[in-house]
Symmetry: C2
Subunit: 668 residues, 2 copies
Amino acid sequence: MKWSTLSIFVAASVVSAQTYKRLGTCPSLGCIFPPDQTDFYAGAYFDIRLEVHSPVNGTEAFKNGEIDKNFTLCIQKGDGPCEDVTKFFTVEDSKLDTWTFSYYEDLFARDAGSASVVNVASKGYRALALDEPGMYTARLKYHQTMETVAHWLVRAPAPERKAKNAIIFIGDGMTQPMITAARMIAHKSINGRYQSLMQMDQMEHLGHQMTHSIDSYITDSANSASALFTGHKTTSGALNVYVDSSRDSFDDPKYETVAELFRRKRGGAFGIVTTADVVDATPAAMCAHTRERGESAGIVYTFLNGASGDTGLNSTLAWPTSCEQPDVIFGGGAQAFLPGPDSPNGTDFYQAFAKEGYNIIHNNTQLQGVDIKKKTLGIFSKGIMSQWLDRHIYPESLKGRKNSPLGDDADALDQPGLKDMTLKAIDILQNRQKDSGKGWLMLSEGASIDKMMHALDYDRALGELLELDDTIRATISHLKDIGELDNTLIVVTADHGHGFDVYGSVDTKYMAAQTDPRKKRDAIGIYGESGLSGYTVAKGSSPDNNTIVVGSGGPNFPVQWDPRYTFAGGMAAHPDIREGWQVNKTGIRKTVVSGDGYVANPNDQPEGIEIEGTIPDDNSSGVHSLTDVSVFASGPGGEAFRGVYNSIDVFFKVADALGLGAPSSESQ
Amino acid sequence: MKWSTLSIFVAASVVSAQTYKRLGTCPSLGCIFPPDQTDFYAGAYFDIRLEVHSPVNGTEAFKNGEIDKNFTLCIQKGDGPCEDVTKFFTVEDSKLDTWTFSYYEDLFARDAGSASVVNVASKGYRALALDEPGMYTARLKYHQTMETVAHWLVRAPAPERKAKNAIIFIGDGMTQPMITAARMIAHKSINGRYQSLMQMDQMEHLGHQMTHSIDSYITDSANSASALFTGHKTTSGALNVYVDSSRDSFDDPKYETVAELFRRKRGGAFGIVTTADVVDATPAAMCAHTRERGESAGIVYTFLNGASGDTGLNSTLAWPTSCEQPDVIFGGGAQAFLPGPDSPNGTDFYQAFAKEGYNIIHNNTQLQGVDIKKKTLGIFSKGIMSQWLDRHIYPESLKGRKNSPLGDDADALDQPGLKDMTLKAIDILQNRQKDSGKGWLMLSEGASIDKMMHALDYDRALGELLELDDTIRATISHLKDIGELDNTLIVVTADHGHGFDVYGSVDTKYMAAQTDPRKKRDAIGIYGESGLSGYTVAKGSSPDNNTIVVGSGGPNFPVQWDPRYTFAGGMAAHPDIREGWQVNKTGIRKTVVSGDGYVANPNDQPEGIEIEGTIPDDNSSGVHSLTDVSVFASGPGGEAFRGVYNSIDVFFKVADALGLGAPSSESQ
C-alpha cells in the first residue's frame, strides 16, 4: 500500500498557530509520536511517546486543565485487530508521567506576556521495531471520547545489498544557484562553453529533495540532517527525536540513524568528517538523539559511549546504541573536548577517547602521518575550522584567532582541508574493515558553505563549495586507485538552502569612484552587461581573454578572487547590511554590529551601499530558505537518487543500497 | 571527437571590457560567426559572417583605423586541407561591406562620452550547412599577419526518430526555488509529507541546464530561447542570429531553429502558445531571426511569410525559410497585428493571416468552439494576457484594462488560460497531421512567471507557475485520451532564473499593527517559526488543520491567497521597494514610481517596510539571475534530458528525439 492511495485523515484544530505552536506534530489534544504519516525502515528501532494535553487556558482550554490518566494506545497492522501497545510489542506498560508547559499562541500574546498553560499526562515505550512491511494504525483514546489516529507505513526494504561502502557528502546550505555561481567563478567559459566542469555536474545521477521540517516549511540543519540520516523529519533544533513537551532534552522519542543501523546490522566501519565543530548539527545527526542540538557535551558523550548512559542522559531510557566510537571523527570544535566547566564532571574528552584506543591528532602534519590502523579523533581547531579562502589565498587572516585545538590560545595554522580529512578518513575506514568485507559508511560535510552564507560572506561560501567539489573529485579518484570505486555509493546533497543567487556584475572601480549611493548602483551590470567571469582570468587581463590560467588555489578554483568586475549576488533575507561585492581579505565578513537590534557594520564593505534588513533585527545573519536542493549520486544504488523526492527518502535509498533491511546472511 | 579532448585555443585581448564590449564573441580584431566553440546539428542551415575590425582610437587603436579589404577565410574538416570558404561550400564570394560603429570601453568612458570608434570590413555567406559530423576549423586571416581560428563541432545526430510529437513547455524565468514555493502554497503537507505533488515533481526524467549567454553570464529571454531552440547561444536581445556590428537588425548571421528544421525535414504540424505577446522573445525564438527582439513588426511578418522577404528584412539575404504560417499561434500582443503606424505599410495582420486561410479568434468562447481542421491565429489581448490569479480569484481587477485584442478599448474579459490554449492547440495540431504520421511540434510558454517576477509580484508569478503545472498535468491526461502520450516527448524547462526564494512567514496582522518599521520586521517568522503553509487551509482555519480543502481555483491551487500568515520571500536584485508580503488584489503590483531614478511606490504594500534597491536606479523591475534551471521530461527521447548540461543541449536532445538528423525515409 502506498501513501497516495490513503484516504485523508482529518483532525480539527482551533488554534491559528503558526509562529508558535503548542506542539508541532500534535494539532489535537492527543499526541502520538511517531505521528501520523510516518514512514519506517523495517527493523529499525524507534521509541513511542504518548501525550494527552489538557490546556488550562487560551483558545484550547479544556476541563480546567484536568489531566486524563486513563488514555490508551492500540496498534493494528493492516485490517487486523487493534491490540494494546503492550501486547502488540510485548513490552511492559510505561509508568505515567505528568508535567506542565506553556507557550504563546501568537506574537500578540508574546508581547502581552499571555502564556497558554497546558497540563500533560504521558507514557513512553522504548526501542521498539516494526519488522514487517505494511500499513499500521495507532489509535490513542483519551478524555473518554476523543481519539487521535496515526497511520504508519513500514516500507519494504530492498532484498539485497548493492553497495559495500557509502559516502554521503553534505554541502550544508548548498543550493543549485550556489553551485552555478561556483562554476562561474572557477571554470572558464569561452563563447558560451565551459572549458571544464564541476565534479557535481559530472555525477551519474541527479535528483532533488524537499527539505521542509515536519511542522514548519523552513528547516534548520539538525532537523534536516535527521531526515536525511534516519528517514524521520522532526522539529527545528532536534536531532533524531520527535519533540515532546517535556523539559529533558534527551528523553524525547528517538529513532535509529543510518550509522546506528549500519553498525548494528552490518558491523562495518564508520566515520565522520566535517569542517564545523564535530558536535555541530550535521555530524551529530549521525549518532546523537536530543531535542536540543546545542547540547554539545551530551553529543560528545554519545560519540564516546552511545545514546544511553549516565551523563546528561536519562539512564532509565535505554537505547540499544551502536553508534559509539566511530572509527574516524575529524573536524573542529575543540571546546567540547577540553576539560572545563562546560564538560560533564570536568571530563577531558581527548583523554577519554585516547583511553578507548583512539589516536588523537590536532593538525594536518599529524593527519598526513597518522597510523591508519587505529580509530582516530582529529580535532583541528576551537570552533569551526578555517575556510579554504583563508587557508589558500589569504593566510595572514588566520593569525590572531587563538583557535588552537589544545586550548592554549595559539593559532591553529596547520589545519587540514576537507579533502585532506576525507581522503585520510577513507584510508582509515578501508584499512579497518578490509579483511571483513563489511564495508564502511562515511559522512563528509562541507559545513561552512552554510556558515559563510549565514555571514553573507559569499566569496568564502563559494570557496567552501569549490573545496567540497574538489574533495568529491579527489575521492572518486582515490576510490578508483584503491579499487573501491565500483563498490561505493557516493551521494552528494545539501540539508537546506539559503536564497542566494547571482544577478550581475559589479565594476568595483567605478563603484568606489562614486560618492552618491544611488550613483554607486550604476556600477552594477545586469543582463548582457554582466559580461564574463573576471575570476577566471589572470590579474589585469580581460574576461574575454581565452587563455586558461590556473590560479594559486589550483585547477577548478578561481584564478583571482578580487577582479575589477566582481559578481553581484545576494539574498532577500538579511539583517541591515552594507554591500560592496568585494572579497573580505582579513577573514570572515562581519556584516553587523549590535545597536538597537543588529545594524549594519559601518566598516564592512565601506565602498558599497547600505541595504535595509528583511528579517527580525535580533537576528544577526542570513537565514535558511525553502528551495529544494540537488542530489548527485554515483556508484551502486545511485540510480535510486534520480527524480524528485522528500528528504527522508535519502535515508531509505542509502539504507537500501547498503542492504540494511536485507537478511545479514544474504548481503555479507 | 569531443570538445573535452580539444587543446585550448588562446587568443590575446587588451581591453578590460565587461560591462561594455566591442563585440561580444569577438575578442580579437578578426571575427568569425559562428565563433570558436560552436556546435552544429548536421544538415541545419547557418550563415557565416566575417568582420575585420580596425579600431580608430581607444585601447585597441590599430593602424589609424585603416580597413583590411583582403582578409580570407578557409575551412578544413578534421586534418584535411584548409579550403577557401567559396570552394568548401561551393558558393559565390560575398561582396565586401564596410561600416563604422562605436562603443564605450567602460562606465568611466560612458560618463566622459569617450566613445571608441571601429571601422569594419565584412563579408557574409548565407544558408550553408555542414552535413558530415566531425571537427572543423575555420581560419580567418587579416591585416596580413593576424589570424582568428574557430573550432566547430558537427555533432553526430541520432540515427533514428524516437518521438512522433514533441511539446516544449517553457516556464519563463522559472527556478527550482519558485517550484518549491508553488508546491508549498498549493499542496498540503501533513507532518512533513505532501499529500499531493506538482506534476513537474512526477515527471520521469530530471535534468539541469546552464542558461548563460555566449558573452555574458546573465541571459535575457531572447538569447536563452535561441539556445534552447537552435543549439546556438548568442548575445542578450538577439533571436537566432550571432550579433554582428552592422546597423541592420535583420542581416546578422542566422541559424536554423528546431521548428524550421522540423518543418523542412519532417513536414509536420507546428504550433506556438504563450501567455505573453506572441511576438515576445520566447515564442518569436521558434521562427524569427533578428538581433533586436523588440522588432515586433518583423517578427509578425516572419510568422506570416518566413525569415526572408521584403518587409523590414533584407531581401538579398535569402533564408530557406520553413517556419512561416505555423498551424497554431495563440497568445497576446494584439498591438502587433492591428493596422497602424507601427505596422509595416499599415498592414492589418489579422486580415493578412485570414487571407492565408487562418481562422482568427479573440476570446475563450471562440477558442472552445473553433474548427480544429484549420490553421488558427488566436490573439486574446493587447499586451500580455491576464494572469491566472486575476482571472480566477480577483476577476474585478480585469476591468478597465482596455486590452481588447480588437483594439477597441474594451476589456478583454473572456481570455483563455494556458491550459485552454494548450489543449486546443494539441487538438488542432493532431487533427492537421494525423493522417500523415508526420507528427507535430509545439511550444507552450507560461510567460508571465517571468513577467510577474520582474514586477516582484510573487503571488501572481506563483499563480502562473501553478497554471503551467496544471497545464502539463492536463496535457498528459489529454494526450493519453487521444492515444498520443506514448508518441510524444514532453520537455518542461525554463530559459533563465530570477533569484527568488522563500525564507519564512509573515504574520500580516502583527505587521500591520506595528508602526515602527523595525518592529514590523518582528512579524517575520524564520526557521521553526515559519510554520506550515497558510495557503492550503480554509479561511479562519489553522495551518495545522489536516483537512484537505479544494479552493476556488480548483485542486493543485491554493485554498486562499491572503492567509494571515503569508510567506516571506523575495530576491536580492530589486529597485527601491516597499514590501509587506501581501497579495495585491487589484492587479499587477506596481512597486516603483518615477522619481530621481525609480523609487518605491508609496502606495504599494502600505503596511510593509521599505528596502533599498540593489540595481541601477534606471531599472524599474527585478532582473534575471544566474542559476541553472531544472528540466523535466517524459516520453520517447526523454531519458536524454537527465543530468547536467548546457542550454544548447536541449535543442540537440529534442532534435534527436524527433530524428531531425536522421534520413527522412527511416523515420516517417
